[in-house]
Amino acid sequence: MQLARVVGTVVATVKAPNMEGMRLLIVQPLTRRLEPVGQPVVAADALETAGPGDLVTIVAAREAAEAMPNRFVPVDHAIVGIVDAVEELRP
């Protein structure tokens, strides 16, 4: 899993059959210090509650589809958590 910030929403009327009703958001991956890193990606919102500005956790690859109610969907990034806090631990 990585940290990411929701930066937008995607509206797509024509989608693969299993994607109907799916919330699609644009997320910007972040470093652990919450700085943007890499390219934004479109992620399915498994929680149905994330929105622009939210700090979230995302999961990539096959496990992204596992987050959705129907596990056999063409999804490669999914939002699986809304982050309340990131705390640094010092040994």
Binding site: M1, L3, A67, L89, P91
Partner: protein
């Protein structure tokens, strides 16, 4: 599996069910010699890893779900071990110690005991 160091926690109340009640830790990925490799992961802790500890991180879904006993769910990244030492040409004598701690000779049982008493803070 990857070598990593525990550097933080992630608190998330609204999550997929498979993460509920589980500890999420931030881990920095490491080279075998203990240097930062660049990059990090948010991982579910299954071994009770503590701050600054070097850990083994599994980043593959089917194995990860097997470890927590779940048939399905978006779990992929799991801490599966606490590393005492990495040996061989590519490594230092020990990567178990956190930065600032003595790197040499970190015996297994005393190390765990020290982590539990919090004497390393």
């Amino acid at each position: 599996m990857k070598l990593a160091r525990v550097v933080g926690t992630v608190v998330s109340t609204i999550t997929s069910p498979i993460f509920q009640g589980r500890t999420l830790l931030l881990v920095d990925l490491l080279e075998p010699d203990g240097r930062q490799a660049g990059g990090y992961l948010v991982a579910v802790d299954t071994v009770g890893a503590g701050a600054g500890e070097t850990v083994l991180v599994l980043d593959e879904g089917t194995s990860a779900r097997q470890i927590v006993g779940a048939a399905y769910g978006p779990l992929r990244t799991v801490i599966v071990g606490i590393v005492d030492a990495v040996e061989g040409p590519a490594s230092l004598a020990s990567v178990a110690a956190a930065p600032g701690m003595a790197a040499a000779s970190v015996p297994r049982k005393p190390r765990r005991a020290r982590a539990r008493t919090g004497a390393d803070g």
